[in-house]
């Protein structure tokens, strides 16, 4: 694509274009697509649980992982005409002339490539995964580039919340949720209040996780809702149990993770405090020593000579000494000349 930087023409990370400039170019491309009715897709890519990896393996390892993922992105998308820039620990990529089907193919390819990356930490090797938030301008709902960014951001958050290693389009997820909410409200209007709330929560959660099994159960439930049979109750209970078990397990995992993170932070802080206390002690002792040492502020001893002396005229063997001193000076002058760098 003439006029826009692509990886083959120059890598923005190498300094050819700043991130701000790339985003400006993306905005221009989005506007062009909107004006001429051409499809444009935006992807936000992030490494799953990068903060957790930093805590476990250090900042350097996390940076190396990020760099490898960037290289992977570059290699996996080299056949595509697109723009890319890094925003903190995420990558924003815009694909002009690409519809959602094309976006699905690209995102599948990226997810597969990311799964094949392995990193050696000195212990067991680790595998990483990525989450991708996808947003497209088809449908005409996204009229501004910022809305598209926001939509991709939502998709990324949903993908991360759903466990990562997936690409989600928030519009599609929200659309599905809205439709199911609508069906739910019409189909279950006669159910008991408490049971209905619980069912609604379970369905909402099940939809938000994106778990295929849960979604299948939800569809099965709705098929049965119209004709309420014992099968409906069974599916309902199974669904609710699954959702509750999942919620409980996620809650425990989150609490454990948070607790570990806090413990690590506390340990780091305690070590830091201990070091600082040690340094403080050393400084205090040194100050005490300096303050108490006699003549602590040593200004030195004055020479007995206020001016340059030289050989006294009536010194013993003055002539011989004068000659010797001249020779010492000449030899040192010669040495200095040898020490000076030669001019080119």
């Amino acid at each position: 694509m003439p006029g826009f930087p692509t990886p083959s023409q120059g890598d923005p990370e190498a300094g050819l274009f700043s991130s701000a400039e790339i985003l400006r170019l993306m905005r221009a491309e989005f506007e062009r697509g909107r004006r001429y009715g051409e499809p444009v897709v935006l992807m936000l890519v992030a490494v799953d649980r990068l903060g957790h990896l930093k805590d476990l393996y250090g900042v350097e390892s996390a940076h190396e992982i990020l760099r490898s993922v960037m290289d992977m992105l570059r290699a996996a998308t080299r056949d595509y005409d697109y723009m890319r820039c890094q925003q903190g620990e995420r990558v924003v990529a815009l694909f002009p002339h690409t519809d959602m089907d094309g976006a699905r193919i690209v995102s599948e390819r990226l997810l597969k490539s990311a799964r094949s990356l392995k990193f050696d930490t000195g212990g067991p090797s680790i595998q990483v995964s990525i989450s991708i938030g996808v947003a497209g301008n088809q449908g005409g709902k996204l009229t501004r580039f910022e809305d598209m960014l926001q939509a991709a951001e939502s998709g990324l958050q949903l993908a991360g919340a759903a466990g990562g290693d997936r690409a989600l389009e928030s519009e599609a997820v929200n659309g599905e949720l809205t439709r199911l909410r609508g069906e739910l409200s019409t189909s279950t209007g006669a159910a008991e209040g408490a049971e209905l709330d619980l069912l609604r929560q379970a369905i909402e959660f099940g939809l938000s996780t994106g778990e295929p099994l849960v979604q299948a159960k939800i569809r099965e439930l709705f098929q049965l809702v119209g004709s309420r049979t014992s099968g409906t109750d069974r599916v309902e209970h199974e669904l609710i149990e699954m959702a509750l078990a999942r919620m409980e397990s996620e809650k425990r995992a989150a609490l454990l993770e948070r607790s570990r993170a806090h413990e690590r932070e506390i340990e780091l802080l305690e070590r830091r405090i201990s070091k600082l206390l040690g340094l403080l002690g050393v400084s205090e002792r040194e100050l005490e020593r300096l303050a108490s040492a006699p003549g602590a502020a040593d200004t030195g001893l004055a020479s007995i000579y206020r001016t340059v002396q030289g050989l006294a005229p009536n010194a013993y063997q003055a002539d011989k000494k004068r000659e010797m001193l001249m020779k010492i000076f000449d030899a040192n002058l010669e040495l200095r000349k040898l020490m000076q760098p030669r001019s080119p």
């Binding site: 050393v282 030195g300 001893l301 020479s303 340059v308 011989k320 020779k327 010492i328 040192n332």
Partner: protein
Amino acid sequence: MAQDKDKEKGKEPGVLYLGIDLGTSRTSVAASNGVRESVASYVGYPKDLVAMKLLQRDTLYGDDALKHRLSLNLLRPLEHGVLKASDKGGAEADQNLKAARDLLKEIVRRARPRHDDLIYAVIGAPAQASVKNKKAIIEAARECVDSVMLCSEPFSVAYGLDWLDDVLVVDIGAGTTDMCRMHGTMPEDSDQITNTFAGDFVDLELSKLIEKSCPGAQFTIQMVRGIKEKYASVMEKTEPAVVELPVNGKPTQFDLTRQIREACLKIVPPIVDGLHRLIASFDPEFQERLKGRVLLAGGGSQIKGLDLAIESEMRQRLGAGKVVRIGEPIYGGANGALKIAHDMPGDFWEKLR
């Protein structure tokens, strides 16, 4: 402030002359403010952060560095009187240059200069130091003094005592023994001889003798050096040198009188060889006069009876000999260098700043 008080009293910032003897084993300074200091030529840098915190300093010198050597990267930047590896260059030479710089800074600091004084220093270099070695010493010194000159070490000893005519100076250091023939003018290359049969050589020979005659004794070269400095003698009748050395961890006494004498005597023939060459190549009319005026200087001159041993060897090989020991072996070179610094005209110092 001291400077303001001095100005009130009519005193202006002055000129501090320094005479520095940069030796393999010891570095000494004599200053025109009356300070005289000497430090063993060792420089130590803490091995790691733990060592730095323990020692609370980033550089140690002399005996202090030797005491804590297990926690330090210990350097002895001079070897045979010159900066180690300065001829070859590379990382080792850079390391030694840094250590020499730090050692010079330390010895200048110990001279307690006032911050506003001009510092003019003369440094004694071995008689036959190469141009590269001399350049390295000047480079090291320039960072801590305003102007610096080098001169031959044995010459500075003679100048300090006003012995400028028909004198043979034998300066026995740790790395080198320098011999210089003074005959009323500036000594030339042909007037100077350097050999490496000096203090370090005696330490090595003594180590070999101890190893041979005291099986199982555990010792280091620093311990041997300490034994030598305490008991060094070439006299037949002397106080017995009984030392304690660990054998398999248990302190055991050994009488090393014979071994010490034998090791110290080994430097006598090479010294007399050097003196022989200098005398034989001198004006024959003044050779006898030269034989009768041999000045023994440097740390090695403290070996008891060495003057008599050299005299005896000279009588056997050259027919005559008279050796005099310098009064201050440690500061003889530094005193002489100080005198040269004092006598040097001011405009010479300015031209070399």
